[in-house]
């Protein structure tokens, strides 16, 4: 067990930090400090390309596909420096963190050579087509259908909560390809270009007033037969494996964003005197502890092996509920620190400062990617071996 980094790794840190500093105080200075997922999409697309050109976009990937074959420690370091430099949220994080690793794991050589380099270069942005109006927590209840027609798959149906679809070039879609099948059987994992007449993206205005997620409609949409990941009928396995990648190194970058948020809460508390309130101090200390432990939980997951009786798989299973609950509490702390002033917006448009927005936005954290309630079922059943929840329909 060792937490420190080697001199070589520290040299890598210095290189990454210098590059980020140069870019974000030079050509991309306007993006520094942006935290919104929807702000400045054109400039952030350019930033994705710049990261790709300099091969900082997907450093953990093999060199052949545009990565650097970076070690785990290097990936940890880059994620930390990326956030420390105030770099903006990755517009293509779904491509880089979810689609890419899944293509690496399940794709054919042809698919990897064709699909991965454009992600690494920051040229093709991706979004995720999982949830549907009747397939939320019960994700296997997918109704979007797809069938073969000549050299294509044809797709018919509707996805919902598709974050960033309005900026994306590709969407991966879990669709039912075996008519009459139910639950996790008979699904396939299809890769579909968004810019075509059969695909309509309609933004959904959310609690913040902003529209980061969308409804995505497929009405005779088409994709080439080669754009299936895994075998037909194997879609559920691919879809679940992808969710595992959500707990990868990207979590460290996410945490550095959280660090910036907690620092903003601390600054606000010091500025308005809330930092003298003993109860607020306790909550800030709890938030500080929780944030630090997210880092060490992530390092345990990424290090593999055992960290105790239950091993580090346990850290992986509990990670989602841990960070989601933490951030929702941070949102509540933020608004309590601000007091009534936090309920007043800056301008005529409906919208609020960073911390008030955090209060609203963080309500999503304990819902998307598996609600806290579903997470508890997963922990109870997979880690603790308790009886599975019965289904009400197909048993």
């Amino acid at each position: 067990m060792k937490l420190g980094f080697s001199p070589e790794e520290e040299a890598f840190r210095a290189e990454a930090a210098a590059w980020l500093q140069a870019e974000l105080s030079g050509p991309f200075a306007d993006l520094r400090g942006i935290t919104s997922l929807t702000a400045a999409p054109d400039r952030r697309r350019a930033w994705e390309r710049r990261l790709g050109e300099a091969r900082w976009g997907c450093i953990g990937w093999p060199e052949a596909y545009g990565g650097r074959d970076a070690t785990l420690a290097e990936q940890v370091i880059f994620a930390e420096e990326y956030a420390r430099a105030g770099a903006p949220p990755r517009l293509n994080h779904i491509g880089v963190e979810l689609a890419g690793p899944t293509i690496l794991a399940f794709g054919s050589d042809e698919q990897k050579a064709r699909l991965l380099p454009p992600i690494a270069r920051g040229e093709q942005l991706w979004c995720q087509g999982y949830s549907e109006p009747n397939a939320g927590s019960d994700l296997a209840n997918v109704r979007t259908r797809a069938w073969r027609d000549g050299g294509d798959w044809v797709i018919e149906g509707q996805k919902v909560w598709t974050s960033l679809a309005q900026f994306s070039d590709w969407i991966f879609v879990v669709a039912r390809t075996e008519p009459g099948s139910k639950g996790p059987k008979g699904l396939s994992f299809l890769l579909v270009p968004i810019d075509q007449p059969g695909v309509t993206v309609r933004p959904i205005r959310q609690i913040t007033g902003d529209a980061e997620f969308n409804e995505t409609f497929f009405d005779g949409a088409r994709t080439a037969a080669a754009n299936i990941l895994g075998e037909p009928g194997q879609g559920w396995q691919v879809a679940m494996a992808l969710l595992g990648f959500e707990r990868g190194v990207s979590t460290l970058a996410q945490q550095m964003g959280f660090r910036n948020e907690l620092d903003a809460v601390i600054r606000a508390a010091k500025a308005n005197g809330a930092a003298r309130d003993p109860l607020i101090r306790q909550r800030i200390a709890k938030a500080e502890i929780g944030l630090r432990l997210m880092r060490y939980g992530a390092l345990r997951m990424l290090s593999g092996g055992t960290g105790g009786a239950e091993g580090n798989g346990a850290a992986a299973l509990t990670y989602k509920i841990q960070w989601a609950s933490w951030r929702r509490s941070l949102g509540e702390l933020a608004i309590d620190v601000l007091g009534i002033a936090g309920e007043i917006g800056d301008g005529a448009e409906y919208g609020f400062g960073e911390l008030s927005t955090l209060f609203l936005y963080s309500r999503a954290d304990t819902i998307y990617g598996g609600t806290n309630q579903i997470q508890r079922n997963i922990i109870a059943e997979r880690a603790l071996g308790l009886p599975r929840e019965p289904r009400g329909d197909i048993g």
Partner: protein, 349 residues
């Protein structure tokens, strides 16, 4: 950077887990509880002499194994899993104070005997020193009734006190596996440590991590035992572990425990590496582990129903140790207040 056990650490963990599982049984612990000393002397001998657990983190020149806080935490976690009735914590406090702040002569004289388990150590805060003599009453001395040598943080210095120089009275303590004693020192002759401040800082930091590791082991035991019970206990024609009300509580216990596991080994690792955040880590581990243990032990009683409230069931051993882990060497609130200061809440905006 690798945040998982080395092969050697994994081996130590396996060894101590099976040692405590075999030796620190409920029967043995309960027998020790009956004595008011809360001490299983036979277990102490095997732990200290056969496995060398007491001197684990001591430098080899003093009869120890020269390992670090990570290994010490592994031992404390395993002992906590069985709520072992052993003066591990109290001795570690005295040892660490001596290592950090004792004179060369004091270290040479006492450490080998403490490392071998021949002597039991403890630590207390209170009293005052005047002309090489200790006066006053020192409360809440863990395992004080079986200790041979005390480190006393008193007004006017940090003293080494031999058992026979003062009156030691065992207290009726809620946690009988780590009972407290009271020391009345009516002008007892004492030696002063060379560097009292350093001794106390080092001892309490080690104590926080040791208590946190004890709490981690205890909380994990609460979860494991309650999961087993929820799988076998049938009501309404089904195992109670099939109800979401029960499953979700158990899942919440695991979520807290896994964070606590990260906290304990972060704190231990940061201490061993002398990391800049080592102090914050120790406060974080102590605060979180205490809350986690109380949460898990409380849930253990609740989910066992009536049987969990009986003297016969072990649930109360965990519940009481959890309370003691929370209050000894600073409450969770006190540790969090330290963190609030460390993150700069008192600095200018």
């Amino acid at each position: 950077m690798r945040f998982s056990f080395s092969d050697e650490q994994a081996m130590i963990a396996e060894t101590v887990r099976s040692f405590f599982a075999e030796q620190a049984t409920s029967e043995r612990t309960r027998a020790a509880m009956e004595t008011a000393h809360g001490h299983d002397a036979e277990l102490w001998r095997s732990a200290a002499q056969e496995l060398g657990l007491v001197g684990l983190a001591l430098p080899e020149e003093h009869g120890g194994s020269g390992l670090g806080q990570i290994e010490s935490a592994i031992v404390a976690e395993a002992a906590g899993y069985q709520v072992a009735a052993l003066p591990l914590l109290s001795t570690a406090l005295a040892v660490r104070a001596l290592v950090a702040g004792g004179t060369a002569d004091q270290r040479a004289r006492w450490l080998p005997k403490l490392a071998s388990g021949e002597l039991i150590g403890s630590y207390g805060e209170g009293g005052r020193i005047d002309g090489g003599r200790l006066h006053g009453r020192i409360d809440h001395v863990p395992h004080g009734a079986v200790a041979d040598l005390f480190v006393i943080a008193a007004e006017g210095g940090v003293a080494l006190l031999s058992r026979d120089a003062a009156v030691v009275t065992p207290c009726t303590s809620m946690d009988q596996t780590r009972p407290y004693a009271r020391i009345d020192a009516d002008g007892a002759a004492v030696e002063l440590l060379a560097d009292g401040r350093t001794a106390i800082d080092a001892a309490t930091r080690v104590g926080w991590i040791a208590l946190a590791a004890d709490a981690l082991g205890g909380a994990q035991a609460c979860l494991d035992r309650t999961v087993d019970y929820a799988k076998e206990r049938v009501q309404f024609g089904r195992a109670i572990g099939s109800f979401q009300a029960i499953k979700h509580r158990l899942a919440d216990m695991m979520v807290e425990i896994e964070q606590t596991r990260s906290a304990v080994y972060w704190a231990a690792c940061a201490a061993d590496e002398g990391a800049p955040d080592a102090l914050l880590a120790a406060h974080a581990a102590k605060a979180l582990a205490a809350d986690t243990y109380r949460f898990c032990a409380g849930n253990m009683i609740q989910l066992h129903g009536g049987i969990g409230f009986t003297w016969e069931h072990d649930a109360h051993l965990f519940f009481k140790r959890a309370q003691s882990d929370a209050t000894l060497l600073g409450t969770p609130e006190w540790h969090r207040e330290r963190i609030a200061a460390l993150v700069g809440l008192d600095e200018a905006a």
